[in-house]
Symmetry: C2
Subunit: 422 residues, 2 copies
């Protein structure tokens, strides 16, 4: 079907749901880091972290097919699959992570994490960042409100060095200024008689735009949260699964969370998410809620989850993400000299962002410019998008199957776009 | 692995998550209406509505495998799969259902429905039943609280004729008594300055125990909700997909909802749920929320969803559910003469419940008896469970692949159990 016709059909049947690009892409096939449209045109996927080990990876497809053709039931029967997966997943985390709760989406994982923190702390008050997204449910979406208005939530300015809370201060002074905001939020909960439950942030502040975080902020904020009786929740839905070149974003930003949520890449497209924490936290959560999730902890989830871990290990994707990402970031950083709009190049591993600005000195965000770059790159055969707190960040988050050759092809196309817009 | 060992491993890795049966079953394979344990023992599945067209149905497995090996991406690109599925799904509903919103779980569908009703009505107050379950998120779980305490929710006694709100009244008088409770709830919202948003119920009151609903209650309650400016939400997660011998539970209980949620059976095990409503309701929901769900509306969901509809049609499962269910219900009703504990036999299609009582005259619920029957039937090779508002209902909800022969085998085993316990 022609894309224009398909768009009309779409509006009739599902309404005005968001589409990427001024002329949306119709996709019909994916393989590795590539996506193909209805005319056979090939794109390098530089946005999708869900098909983390590559589109249609045969090992994952085989595992999912076998599971569906063998057994797929809910978790009130004994089945070894999800237990082996839980064991393997927990081993990838720091020692405090002892038990897992599985769910179907990042939103559901965020729900579990919030309940877990509140049950364990006996509190309600949650600190989040002022430009975050942790999911679409009524409760979780309260953290994405702009501004956050629900009294059970308080937002803090996300830590960053590019547009810092104060100019002309050292990084350690800046770190303290952000920490002061954490303390202020804790104090405000106390003043309003709302017992504190914890802090819930993406380990890399992905939706915020992958800021450079003042050195030591996350570890000190974690200590502060603990001293106030709260729990530190790390959202690893985007940050985790080798995305940053580390297994987890919290390793990259240097802290040890109490509760970790995971989602998107876990099943390479099979809906699968999880929360891990200490045995004590999970026990208190399960005792209080009797949590059950029909589609979760299933043999199909387990099979997809195991297959993804197999591929990451067999193809050494963590190291490849680190080295490919370093290479790409270095090249992009060099290109800043050629293009004033490239205000800042940030991130690590295969998770990079280019802060697009209209003026390098004022750092004025250029949303239209970032959108234009995404559309131009799409026309060149490279799929990415704009994002970030100010929507002016060109977001690079390809499947881990993205390699050095893809990076070189992208850099050629990117240079072409820089020429075209200069 | 031995079941005892597996149980210990499970407690270590995922904690005290619920398990069925005093001696839990370890499952390794499923096919059609059958499940097999690690020792090769065969069970007739009489509980699982998720593998609705039968465990490991080859047509569904093929569709899912093909989707995962071809393309599986999120919905911000154009793709025909989910649109064809939406079109086909909408055609199965009454004319007012014009657009679909897809999600991953019943909980997520309930979240969408609540938001949709609140946005469209401008209200907040939701009427639910006093023994319901619509999901596990913070907001949705407020309806399962016992008692419901959040001021935005008011519960009404679920309509039933077996343990009615008043004795010695006619069915139409009883209907009016239940309707009075709906009006009372609406009035209480008004008195508390909480604008009314609607009523959210399972079309068959499945968790309540599949009561016989006083004739006309659902249609009159819907009128009442509309007159008060609210919307009627039908939860078809259990009730829908031919379960009752009708396509939808709301056809069986005689009303036309404004918003319908669906889930469990839609993907035969692929996480897939949906909400359908009028174009106006969906438009207002999308405009206000910008709803996006990473794993939903994907090619894999569409493929699984289409394949399930194919099989239901090709194998005429709606009719088969109706006739097999009628036969089974009639035979069970006859058996009441033999067993005083079988207080009431209710339901329609392949969704039946036996109200287990210690005394037929007082209708005193016998929870231990219902649990004992479920365990004994498990030992005989038939998997079902106890449920209902009082947990004393033997719940029969097999895959639609369950046929007359399975019913006869079950009835033999059930008679044996009746002999054993008499």
């Amino acid at each position: 079907m022609q894309s224009a016709e398909l768009k009309t059909k779409r509006e009739k049947l599902i309404g005005q749901a968001e589409l990427f690009y001024s002329k949306p892409v119709q996709l019909v096939r994916g393989e590795g880091a590539y996506l193909y449209d209805e005319q056979g045109r090939k794109y390098v996927d530089m946005y999708n972290n869900v098909p983390c080990v590559g589109h249609a990876h045969p090992h994952v497809v085989e595992a999912i097919s076998t599971a569906f053709s063998t057994l797929n039931v809910h978790s009130r029967y004994l089945h070894n699959g999800i237990l082996d997966f839980a064991e393997r997943l927990l081993r990838l985390h720091h020692e405090g992570m002892e038990q897992a709760v599985f769910a179907c989406s990042g939103t559901e994982a965020s729900e579990v994490a919030l309940m877990m923190a509140r049950i364990a702390s006996g509190g309600k008050g949650i600190i989040c960042s002022d430009a975050t997204y942790h999911g679409n449910s009524t409760e979780v979406a309260k953290m994405s409100a702009s501004p956050v208005t629900d009294p059970m939530y308080r937002s803090i300015p996300f830590p960053q060095t590019y547009r810092p809370l104060a100019d002309g201060v050292s990084e350690s002074e800046l770190c303290q200024l952000y920490l002061d905001r954490v303390q202020l939020a804790i104090d405000e909960f106390t003043r309003n008689n709302i017992p504190f439950a914890g802090m819930f942030v993406c380990s890399l502040f992905a939706n915020e735009g992958l800021p450079n975080i003042p050195q030591g902020f996350m570890a000190s904020a974690t200590d502060m949260v603990h001293r106030a009786g709260g729990l530190m929740i790390a959202d690893e839905v985007q940050a985790g699964y080798c995305r940053s070149g580390h297994w987890w974003g919290y390793e990259a930003s240097g802290f040890a969370p109490d509760i970790v949520t995971m989602g998107k890449p876990m099943g390479n497209g099979m809906p699968l998410s999880a929360v891990v924490a200490s045995q004590e936290l999970v026990t208190r959560f399960r005792d209080k809620t009797g949590y059950f999730n029909t589609f979760a902890s299933s043999p199909a989830q387990a099979a997809a989850g195991m297959a993804v871990l197999d591929v990451i290990e067999q193809e050494d994707l963590r190291n490849r993400a680190a080295t490919t990402g370093d290479y790409l970031k270095e090249r992009l950083t060099t290109l800043q000299a050629r293009c004033n709009a490239m205000g800042d190049v940030r991130g690590c591993g295969l998770f990079l962002s280019i802060d697009w600005v209209s003026d390098r000195s004022t750092k004025a965000p250029d949303v239209a410019g970032a959108i234009d770059v995404a559309n131009r790159l799409k026309d060149q055969g490279f799929l990415l998008s704009n994002a970030g707190a100010l929507n002016n960040v060109v977001k690079i988050r390809p499947p881990l199957a993205f390699d050095r050759n893809h990076a070189d092809d992208f850099l050629d196309a990117f240079c072409q776009v820089l020429d075209d817009i200069s």
